[in-house]
Symmetry: D3
Subunit: 319 residues, 6 copies
């Protein structure tokens, strides 16, 4: 099916402009004018920002055709009201989310997804161990997997919580491993790289992201750690004579990569490679989360607001 294309992004709409475009409905409210007549007050969005919308005509019938969370095609015009832009809706049709590219509507990585992927594939080709190399190839030749892997976010909140975030985070881990894998003696670099590339694959099934980023049923009930092991099992089953002992230490890297039971790993890291992966994953997640948080807020302020999960203010310093 051909995807519908977004043309005018919210942050480029001007007063007076005629609009025929796709939006996601974030809010919908049936409201009443002073004369008692109803109208629909809408919160519309795409990945570039938010805009209010109003529909004056045929309100009650229209109200039944869509709900908040839907993608809709709107024909109408932009107007200024009390100093803010709003869309005056002439026509509104609900769309099938399968026809939409969510990357136009959800927060998305700022980096080129295909470039990131090809760099990751290139790194994966440096793996010498025959079995691990075969395994990585099997994943990267699996088109359904690669499609999800390129689009999935790495989180709902916190770090890399945007489309393409999983790939961005995974590439970052792979590059960090390349940079320091030779720093310590006795590290199995092939194992470390393979574990680093595959540690979060369960997230492609942990999250749904058609209209907003959320957990799937499987994500909430099984956790991406367990899902990742299951995916690894299935892929290994397609490879001849994949050694059981390698499979176990590789699965251990997925199982233990959250570091402690408190954070969802059934077992803590017990191999040198698993320990390294854990700290590099933490480093990348936290640096990225804090940097994103710093950038999201008042660029003038020396301090961020209070971060509820990390339980502190962060210092951006003074210009």
């Amino acid at each position: 099916m051909e995807e519908l294309l977004k043309r005018n992004f919210v942050n480029a709409i001007n007063a007076g402009q005629e609009i025929d475009d796709i939006f996601i409905v974030r809010e919908k409210q049936l409201a009443f004018k002073r004369d008692g007549d109803p109208y629909l007050a809408l919160g519309l969005a795409d990945r570039s920002g938010d805009i209010k919308g109003v529909a004056w005509d045929n309100v009650e019938a229209l109200n039944k055709t869509f709900v908040a969370g839907d993608y809709v095609r709107i024909k109408g015009s932009a107007a200024e009201y009390r100093g803010a832009l709003q869309l005056v809706v002439q026509q509104l049709d609900r769309l099938d989310p399968a026809e939409i590219d969510p990357r136009d509507f959800l927060p998305t990585t700022e980096r080129d997804v295909d470039q990131m992927l090809s760099r990751l594939v290139q790194i994966s080709r440096t793996v010498q161990n025959k079995h691990l190399s075969q395994l990585l190839s099997a994943f990267f030749e699996d088109k359904a997997f690669v499609d999800s892997f390129k689009t999935a976010p790495a989180a709902k909140k916190m770090h890399h919580a945007y489309l393409g975030g999983l790939l961005e985070h995974t590439l970052s881990i792979a590059l960090l491993i390349q940079a320091i894998a030779d720093h310590y003696k006795g590290i199995d670099k092939d194992l470390l790289l393979t574990g680093g590339i595959l540690h979060d694959i369960g997230k492609v099934h942990e999250f749904s992201y058609q209209t907003h980023i959320d957990y799937t049923d499987a994500g909430r009930l099984l956790n991406h750690i367990v899902i990742g092991v299951e995916m690894l099992d299935k892929k290994i089953a397609t490879i001849n004579d994949f050694p059981e002992d390698i499979a176990i230490v590789l699965k251990h890297m997925i199982v233990s990569h959250h570091g402690t039971r408190d954070f969802g790993s059934p077992e803590p890291p017990k191999t040198l490679e698993a320990i390294m992966l854990y700290y590099l994953d933490e480093l990348d997640a936290k640096v990225t989360a804090v940097r994103t948080f710093m950038e999201a807020e008042d660029p003038e302020a020396a301090w961020t607001p209070y971060h509820r999960v990390l339980e502190r203010f962060f210092f951006k310093g003074k210009a």
Copy 2:
């Protein structure tokens, strides 16, 4: 291969008796007599108890033929020394553990394993749901699985830490479920029973128990929760059209049955059935652990010694 049979158990050996039997070597020490000559001082055992052993002849050569942890066949005689029995070894040959039935040497359930199994199978036949019923049948018709499931312990320490303990614990859970499944409305009894029967299957690969109960590599690196999900995946793959949504809630019961992340569950129980399984599992584990601990100690004492894991003394009351 035909298994070697144990004939004289340690707790039935008398002074003066000629012995030709199998023992497990718990300790081995090269010691010296007053005249400087070496001898081997052995700690021997079977499931009924311990007995010391000594070998006076050809000591240095003999010493190289076996290590602590081995099964050995000993010919010799029982004698009393300083008020205790000991075996004077005339001949000692190391045995292949594969020829030995570990139930003669390791602590073992006092209940009839086959009776327990057939009762569990019978309960599993009350499951009405076609898919769950097929799944349970697939497990119980898998001879390799059933053999392990009948022998495996449920733990290394704490509760049901003996051969057959996994089956005993599983049957107990199934019976508790039968007793109270109708107590609450809205419980899916088929799901609860199936989850109850399968919640600990990963333990058949988490533990090794040829010469003593210990964790396997996979057990320590992956945890029986993850192993159990993998086993379930493999078995489900053999069944036609097993519904994905049932598979997820069933796997969730394995994933969450330790109740919190602190105890190794990547996700806590999020369905009513998973919540019930968690509490019944805890109830059975703790009551059994405490009762075993109470029985192991001085039957006259009102209080047990301090239990280091449960961090308290237990009260047995007064006769």
Copy 3:
């Protein structure tokens, strides 16, 4: 004193109906019309739901005669305003809460209280031990105790947080004990049943529930665990020759039934009966809390909202 009777429940009031009935005032606000004249905006309720009320006349004097939290008798009429019903108050009189049956106004068990009580008494009669049997009789023959025990909630929030909830929870525990007491050898079933029936008696003085469910001073300062032991002491003092050793293990069941110090038990369970009671109490509290939470929310949704105390979403599954 004769109790005033509730006649028209909120969920059965229709526009245009004349009303003369009792309500509890949840909110009261002095507001102003466009012309500057004051009026009283009220939030009224009974156990069936909420309705808004307005009083236009003699507002300032009326305002001084009652506060939020009071029971009031209202004469007036129901009218529709902006799509919602409201009561237009003609007369409003504050009532003495002692004349009111709180079960008409607070959330209340859906089950028949007297039937539950008689079933519990019947179970209590299966106790063979003479002393324990006398003790249970002494409680059930104490009319003041029984009245409170039939009405008290089991909690302010969470599980069984409604009038009659304490009895409902206690009966559930007693039935669970009956169902599984013979499952384990070595359990003193009489002790377990008695402890199960009495474990939460302190809650009759921990909560007040005349106009809303809240803690009493004693409840917040002493905890129902301590209050329960005090109640047991007083009742035991009325029985001849109640053995001290039985009294201690019975009081221990009250003292330890929250399982750990973290949850308010000065000592954790140290007898088999106390351990069993703890897990059955947890099982019943959690299953009931989660089921109530599941039922309270959007019946279409597969997932509940986030549960702040249990810190997770719960899965109700799909139809």
Copy 4:
């Protein structure tokens, strides 16, 4: 019954001395001489120290007449063996603990018990509130209570873990309260003093201390917090018209004096008086525990050994 008197304390026994005195048996072992003959090796003690003992004659019969933990009367003589004193036992008779004053055998306060008591009574007379004053008098006029209260330890280990320790700790708290009660406005000094004097009374039943300091059954099953409230209830019941509201805040001080649930208080301190009592109790317990620990060890060392409960080394400084 007349108590038997201790005459020669262990730390004053010299080689060659004839002994006829009472000892507590800390250890007893049936050992064998080189010639195979048995003898009894004893560990004997009184509050001043330890001495070894040996019995050569009639060993097997003698062995059956007493166990470790018993008080015994020994006739014999002191002799030096391998540089250490030992008692050579000629006659040994088990004694009834009821005839013994445990203060001769267990660690005991170095301060005058009667003086401490009379100072505490004197402080209790400064309480102006009629009801609280009556209550304190009722306790101090209760001879059985006072006898226990003068002898009981305040702990098994840690602070004031010696006979008379409870009184010593209580007096210290009362003096601290006197010193700072006027420091803060709005404190009910009578309530604070009464709560301070009574906060640990449950310890007279929590510990047994006839032959060594240990927990009683009630102590381990109910905790001195609950026992203390029960004792208070019984004493209050003997006083006319003791106001319920005073009883609750006073019981709250017992209930909450461990400060948090983690340390066994079902509720944390919720009144100013309970908060003050908690910190003064902590101050006295910790200062005393650490000072005792400092004094027990090598007086030359700048640092104590590692304190396992308080998890640190303590610094005594350099002379």
Copy 5:
């Protein structure tokens, strides 16, 4: 520079009064009248309370001259609007905070700061140890330090969170130490007093309090514990031959005075003096925090609202 003086405090302003005075701007909002004209709606305050303000003229230019948080001088008149006073602004000028005495605008101790200081200095003169005495003098003769020490708050929230609070808290600690320092033998009273007086000095640089109480950059990045040690180092460097061993135990009192690592002390108290300081500091902080919380709320209520940090309700009792 001469400080500008506050004359009319908010709680003494009457309708109709002409105003020419200093206020702190808590809130500022550009709003619109029905006719579309803009006006400024202000929240103004001094330490006695809050008052609304409105500016009708020259709004857009005026709006650019100040922000929320500024001190401003306002000329205008007080008028009543919808039952509340408001200031109608005729002229508004932003002021330099350096010219303002923050004690007129921020919550401030109710006690006489100079009296408190002189009492503290007097106590400090009782210190006999030559080095400690010199050190205290050096601090009290340091005018810049004393100025800050007299004004600084002891906290942003919780206890003594007002100007002068640091001095008030420090004096309270010094008095408590005087009251009980002789209670225990073996305490170095000079050390305890000096540590008590200096334990919180780091707070003079941890907080800023020109327009509101907040953390400084150094406060958030270094913590007053570390800042306090740095200040002590600098002051000690000005004293001849200050003994290193005294410096260490004194710095240890600052380092450890939060009691545990959880609360920010890099090491827990390891000397008797540090232990005592910790508990007295806790006592003073908690009693003061709870008393302040009790006084802030409805004086009629028996219970305070829920205290989010201390996680409980507090009981004020009934009149």
Copy 6:
């Protein structure tokens, strides 16, 4: 003073060899031969291993001249006894530890200390920021500091717990920073490098290591975090116009480098550079600790023994 030199290391001593060398006395015991004569049984060591020693002559006088922990010069001969080497002591003289190079006796880095230092200095020269560059030079030109910094261990146990360990760990951190500092945008590489080089300088005063590695008084009372800030303050005071804002964020890196209060940091990392330092420090400490632990144990075993601090077994894999 000239240092005495170690010549024969323990692991190179052969039976029959004459010895005149320095040892550290790990254990000393006065024992008795069968004939009742005393002798001294010694545990002697240098960094290469342990050897037993015996002294037969003039035992009681000799015994008074030294204690365990002393360095001694021993003349004597090596002999074999029951299959183990021992030194038969002819002469033994206590030595002044100041004359000894502890690196001959304590576990010591296997790497070249001077090479490591010069590499670290070289890295420090890449810092561009004038102030930070001056600061690093000031440290590396301070001979007393450099001497300690080259010898100090990084820990008493766990990671880099050997002489030279602090330098080895610091160099490793600096190299890791070089490898990944450009990986993230927005990182102040100069600040990160300087903080990385200086983060643990406090350890040169936290540990003593003349005869064994232990904490100093200052180490235990102040913690190396506080000591490090003090050292930084002193060095910054020697530099003209060192900017206060740089000083604060640099000190913050020392203050926060343990990551959380639980591990001794008064404040957690609040800048990107502090966050990165924390994770790299953790990575280096844990990888090194685990690798050392793996190497210390049976090289055949697939698993290490249980690690008490990290609370797990580690998997070394199979050859």
